[in-house]
């Protein structure tokens, strides 16, 4: 036991130079600004030279039902985007991990991660070219279909969903791919030799083993989408008013930083509460 203790101390000493940059950076880049935000959220005002501390900003959330309504709307949006990503992303990841091999896999993989290479703002604006009336989607559909249709999805809730799914789908494909790829093909062969049909294999072998990847992808999508503001702002118009855009307004338009900070921390609390509630399921899957 003494020996293991010693190697562990030694190991830590050796690991320190490797850990320090990351943890030092995290402290600077997250912990300090976050502390500042906690402080801001408790201020009465930013402009006064002698600010006093208050909980009024947190109380504001509860006094006006609009905030709760918008938060609920954001949660629903995040759930919808997450589920669409599972439905679209899982089959794609399955094909990548289990059907394609070699060159074909690399090519398709490239298409999946291509969105990461472009600026997210550019991506969102390019969607506005597609979705608006007289836009690319409108023109193409009218060219294909024999009857006249008018497609104007711009400045609507569906536009926000489309934009967000596009932005976050790669996360789902990648996490699902990793867990699917780790499944030994012999397990699938074994299930088949035991008489299982494709759907039975998917349900009883592949899905349970791929669940950690699906859950990881879901968390990676759910958390940022709840607080998203760029896609709702650009693609959603009036239909894009969400909890995230309200927070953004406090910082950029209204200049009420204390309220914006307080609303952010309430969001953080809600996300943590949801993750905590899901913890038993997550632990079981892992």
């Amino acid at each position: 036991m003494a020996v293991t203790g010693m190697t562990r101390t030694n190991g830590l000493k050796k690991a320190l130079p490797l850990l320090l940059p990351a943890y030092g950076w995290l402290t600077l880049a997250i912990f300090l600004p976050l502390s500042a935000m906690v402080y801001f959220s408790l201020l009465t005002t930013m402009s006064s030279t002698t600010p006093s501390l208050t909980l009024a900003n947190y109380a504001a959330f509860f006094s006006d039902p609009l905030y709760a309504v918008l938060l609920l709307r954001s949660v629903k949006l995040a759930l919808l985007v997450m589920m669409i990503c599972v439905v679209i992303g899982f089959p794609a990841a399955y094909v990548l991990a289990k059907i394609f091999k070699g060159r074909a896999r690399e090519a398709i993989f490239l298409i999946v991660i291509l969105p990461f290479w472009s600026n997210s703002l550019v991506r969102v604006f390019s969607w506005s070219m597609v979705l608006r009336e007289g836009g690319i989607l409108d023109v193409v559909l009218n060219a294909i279909l024999p009857f006249k249709v008018s497609v104007d999805l711009m400045y609507s809730y569906p536009a926000v969903v489309i934009g967000l799914v596009h932005s976050y789908l790669p996360y789902m494909v990648l996490t699902c791919y990793l867990s699917l790829q780790a499944i030994d093909d012999a397990l699938i062969d074994a299930a088949r030799s035991l008489g299982a049909s494709r759907t039975t294999i998917l349900r009883r072998v592949i899905a349970p083993l791929a669940l950690p990847g699906v859950l990881a992808g879901s968390a990676l999508i759910f958390i940022p989408v709840i607080g998203s503001f760029m896609e709702p702002r650009i693609l959603g118009g009036r239909g894009g008013t969400l909890y995230g855009t309200v927070i953004e307004d406090q910082f950029t338009a209204v200049y009420n930083w204390p309220l914006g900070a307080a609303l952010s921390f309430i969001l953080l609390a809600v996300v943590l509460a949801i993750l905590l509630a899901a913890a038993p399921v997550l632990r079981k899957a892992a």
């Binding site: 012999a186 074994a190 088949r192 030799s193 035991l194 008489g195 299982a196 049909s197 349970p208």
Partner: protein
């Protein structure tokens, strides 16, 4: 339980013919080994019988019915995989029950069948464990139990013992043999390990480059290999090249020996094999010449490999080297450099095609 007939089966991957015109019949209840080096096509052949691969041409029949286009889940075949392929998220009992549940059986019947088969493989108390809590040998037994619980028509084993250490492998070979006899299922066993094939199977098929080189009972193939490959892959063999002259064989090292008993060749080149344990070793008599007609070759001991109950000698005979195995106790140990005479019964000399 069933008879499996493979007829003129071919399977190519790109330009590579993995299985090239193979025909072989596996009789009902037999225990067969497909033996060959890696890349010989033995696993591809097994996977075609299982239904994971489909032949480009040829037919596979189980009890007379053609199955070569039937998918794996409809063939009623049990398979044990090289790395066991146990479902890691299920208990041992759930792994074994899987095939029964898939076929629609429920409740008490499943539980009884699972506990019976776990008793058969001597893992009666392990039903609740997870695969990662088991040793290699135990996983092997679970994989076997899972494959036979559904009463498959044929049991296929793909190098099932290669991941085990030597002692455990020997135990499992005996276990496998016992269980196969008890269940009586036609069993096809793929291996690259010649000792395993010899000790476990009733019948062996030797594969090379996608073709069956020779098939038959282990003793038959060992005693009468039909090619240099069969002779050297299944066991060790001294290969002797020579020319047939006047009813005798003049070896390339100059020695003249009797022809193999079953040889009818009267002239030309000939290649023969002799097993090292069939070669007798004796210290060469000073001055004594062997009488004409005896199969005697002279040489000098170059190396000796001591293996406990026997010693293996490498003897230099006029430039070519012969291996001989001598039981210790039966003969005195020979020192390196000793002049020896090697002899054998001409019945033990095997003519190779």
């Amino acid at each position: 339980m069933a008879r499996v007939e493979v007829q003129n089966v071919q399977r190519a991957f790109g330009d590579h013919k993995a299985v090239d015109d193979v025909s072989i019949t596996f009789e009902d209840g037999g225990f067969y080994a497909l033996l060959g080096p890696s890349g010989s096509g033995k696993t591809t052949l097994l996977r075609m019988i299982a239904g994971f691969e489909f032949p480009d041409s040829g037919s596979i029949r189980i009890d007379g019915a053609a199955v070569e286009t039937v998918p794996a889940n409809k063939r009623r075949i049990g398979m044990v995989f090289q790395n066991y392929a146990l479902f890691p998220h299920m208990s041992v009992a759930a792994n074994v029950a899987f095939g029964l549940e898939v076929s629609g059986q429920k409740g008490k019947d499943v539980r009884r069948a699972v506990s019976e088969v776990l008793d058969l493989v001597q893992l009666g108390d392990f039903g609740k464990r997870r695969p990662h809590q088991l040793s290699g040998g135990q996983r092997q037994r679970v994989a076997l139990a899972r494959a036979i619980v559904t009463k498959p028509r044929v049991l296929l084993l793909d190098e099932p013992l290669s991941a085990l250490d030597k002692a455990l492998r020997t135990t499992m070979q005996g276990e496998l043999k016992r269980i196969q006899r008890e269940v009586g299922v036609t069993t096809i066993f793929v291996t690259h390990d010649q000792d395993e094939a010899l000790s476990i199977a009733d019948q062996i098929g030797i594969l090379k480059d996608g073709r069956i080189v020779q098939s038959g009972a282990p003793e038959e193939i060992y005693d009468r290999p039909n090619s240099e490959f069969a002779a050297t892959f299944l066991g060790d063999a001294n290969i002797l090249d020579g020319t047939v002259v006047e009813g005798r064989l003049r070896l390339d090292n100059g020695a003249v020996v009797a022809l193999p008993l079953d040889s009818t060749q009267t002239s030309g080149r000939m290649r023969c094999a002799i097993r090292p344990e069939r070669v007798r070793l004796a210290v060469r008599n000073a001055g004594g010449r062997a009488e004409p007609g005896a199969t005697v070759v002279w040489g000098t001991v170059r190396r000796r490999l001591f293996s406990g109950s026997f010693s293996r000698y490498a003897v230099d005979c006029g430039g070519s080297e012969l291996q001989a195995i001598a039981q210790r106790g039966a003969t005195r140990d020979l020192a390196i450099g000793t002049e020896v005479e090697l002899s054998w019964d001409r019945r033990d000399l095997i003519a190779l095609s």
